[in-house]
Symmetry: C2
Subunit: 452 residues, 2 copies
């Protein structure tokens, strides 16, 4: 579609240096294949659980996109005017979802389960592993007026399926319930300071217990309250023991009790959905943000790489779209920050061990008439084998090198001799093994060689 | 990832109207499913032919992105400053490809075959069926210094595979060669005016022969040249007859002769690649843009819907990345403007006849303990059946209506009786047919019911 755009040509050309904006990921093909494979696995799992696809615009009216945002958010936004229109690039997939659900409320079916995988934009200071353009892979379940608590228990199972499918074994999905923390603060008459206390608690993993005590003191939290808070977040044991200990704290606060009840229910149903005990854990320190989540919250950690932080997070919220509509739309959702995850896994040499190719087979014709190579390629494609024909006049060695560089696992050479004998030479590029196959070989036999 | 963004809350809330920018497509889930299905089919075909994936940023440095652009292009660009950086949104996938290949020249393998499917941005005046954000689905084959002509013959086969796969039968891929037109103008000593003449010829389909003559006269083209040009573009007959007539024109111009040779070669190889004769046609009026394409050019038409214009176009170019590098990088490529195509097909009621769902099965538990429904859902998912469990307390009727609205083809109801008898009721939502199945039914039997 270049045609609409007319180039200008100068006699003396000044070359522009071909560079990419910093903070923007641009992969080499071999990395892109791995990235896409991860993305596809996530998408397929979302579909497997019946989530509907959504693809909202990357640009929105600033007035709409920033209806809720404020402070730090707005500074990071890519915002500009085009004509008279004040436009912003989306910084997450949740605000566009809120807009979408409010806008299409009348025609959607609730519970509305949607997934969206797309790029979002935040003009953060550039630093290693932080991106200004990155993929989020979100699922949310939105209810109309109400959303059954059992939905909170299904999400961890979905997270589990994804990371299993991505090849991870040793990971933990941590859950908590915000009502427990909020109820605790209410009972301690620390409700006013709760946002700040949560902020401190959230850091315990990073800064340690002593630093938390110090920071809480600075917030003027009375020392008997600090010890109660610590007593609380240090509750240890199995998941069931933790729930029992929470119940035994005898905190007479309705919100707290409701939170413990919900956590107990969600834990019960997580087991029913088949999530293995070793892959989830009640973690009472998790707060997830500050005023957005109101019930269940999730974080997910690769246990051998805790330094990555949570790789899949989310939770339950009271009201998705209050800035756009009076309808009460409670929801629960999680998000995977794929770009950062991929970057980190790549850096740790975790995912690039098995290089993948798009083509399963490279057909290398050593003859001029392409009739037979073309026909054979089509036969392979029709049985699901991705097949490239090397189209160009190069020596055999160069063609083999090409296959090798592209990690294509099989090369089929078709030359004069082969055509005359109605066969071809297939080479396994990894083992070097060569075999003659008849060009009439039936499909099952070829598939067996190529797909194993 | 909402957590980083702190909302502000007012006691009295002014609701913002949840609206989407005009010229930006935002689909309902049932439409999105169809859109994604088309996108996936295109992508799978590209992969089947061994094209490598690419995913370049949507934002680029203006200096880089607009190295080549000028005039009309720049007016349409979404361009803005963020900090000190002058940024533009990509308006096609070709310029980012040029940048990418120039940047990564040393590590890429040539011929470099890449596909990219992504959104591009053009701030055009809004009109029905025109979008400011739209998907392009591109493939290009880039050579290092040279690219064998046979590559030009493979692309029509790929276009053919895609539109077949999308369910179209009656479509025509039109090919031409720019050297023929340019050579003709050279021989008529109309080289200076060739860009303008091409612009007129390109319109013959729309405005008719008489208007073309009139416009050419206005361009001061001598009337004997006009008749030669018309004689040329009116060459009729089969593909082979057209080539023969071109050869018999006896135009003594090297460029013209080269063009006819290339067209003949490409036609020969198109047949070898297995493109049926009824799906391609030499069309000497096709020019495709003005100075970008230098050899083979393509346009594709749905014959019952000529008014859509070309739905897949492209061609051969001399030098992909001359604004970034001294390396000569010839290429050939085509692009499908998916957003507009989808919009038009939808408007014509062509694609939305068979509504699709993401979930193949909705499991409707009419009991409180979800153990058995959850286990059965997992069994189905493990054999490739997308399965949603209805999680919420509603009457059976409401749950069935939900499945119906989402076009989910099968509902499995699991109630008290069913659990006691270890069976379930499966309902075909289209025929209304109900059947009892044992919860132990083996996988093949269930698959037979659900996937037919």
């Amino acid at each position: 579609m270049v045609d609409d755009f007319i180039g200008r040509e100068d006699d003396i050309m000044n070359k522009t240096e071909p560079r990419t904006l910093s903070g923007f990921m641009e992969l080499l093909p071999e990395e892109q294949i791995l990235f896409d494979q991860m993305k596809e696995k996530i998408e397929n799992t979302y579909k497997k659980y019946g989530f509907l696809p959504l693809d909202t615009p990357i640009l929105e009216l600033s007035e709409v996109l920033l209806a809720k945002a404020g402070g730090e958010t707005e500074k990071q936004i890519y915002r500009f005017e085009k004509g008279d229109t004040d436009i912003s690039m989306r910084f997450d997939l949740t605000v566009p979802l809120a807009k979408y659900v409010a806008k299409n409320y009348g025609v959607l079916s609730f519970p509305f389960r949607r997934y969206q995988i797309g790029k979002v934009y935040r003009g953060e200071r550039t630093q290693k592993g932080r991106f200004r353009e990155f993929y989020q892979c979100d699922i949310d379940i939105i209810g109309d007026e109400e959303l059954d608590l059992v939905n909170d228990a299904e999400l961890p199972k979905i997270i589990y399926s994804i990371f299993k499918d991505l090849g991870f074994k040793d990971f933990t999905i941590c859950i908590n319930n915000r009502k427990i923390l909020n109820g605790l603060f209410e009972s301690l008459e620390q409700k006013e300071a709760s946002v700040e206390i949560l902020r401190v608690i959230d850091k315990i993993e990073k800064i340690g217990k002593d630093a938390v005590i110090e920071e809480l003191s600075k917030l003027q939290v009375p020392s008997n309250n600090i010890s109660k808070i610590l007593q609380f977040i240090e509750i240890q044991g199995t998941n069931d023991e933790k729930i029992e200990k929470l119940e035994n704290l005898n905190i007479e606060n309705e919100l707290f009790k409701q939170g413990v009840y919900e956590l107990k229910e969600v834990t019960k149903n997580i087991r029913i959905f088949g999530l293995p005990e070793e892959n989830f854990k009640i973690d009472l320190t998790i707060a997830r943000g500050l005023d957005y989540y109101t019930g269940t919250v999730y974080e997910t950690f690769l246990n051998s790489y805790r330094e990555l932080g949570s790789i899949c997070s989310g939770g339950r919220y009271e009201n998705l779209a209050e800035y756009y509509t009076d309808k009460k739309l409670p929801g629960v959702g999680v998000s995977i920050g794929l770009t950062r995850l991929f970057y980190k896994l790549n850096e740790l040499n975790i995912i690039n061990v098995n290089k993948k190719s798009i083509a399963d087979v490279l057909i290398v014709p050593m003859i001029e008439d392409l009739q037979i190579p073309a026909k054979y390629a089509e036969k392979l494609r029709n049985i699901g084998v991705n097949t490239q024909i090397y189209l160009g006049q190069k020596k055999l060695k160069a063609k083999m090198k090409y296959a090798d560089k592209l990690n294509i696992p099989y090369v089929i050479v078709i030359g004069e001799d082969e055509v005359q004998n109605n066969n071809a030479k297939i080479k396994n590029m990894q083992t070097g093994e060569e075999k003659n196959i008849s060009l009439d070989t039936n499909n099952e036999e070829i598939l067996k060689i190529i797909k194993g």
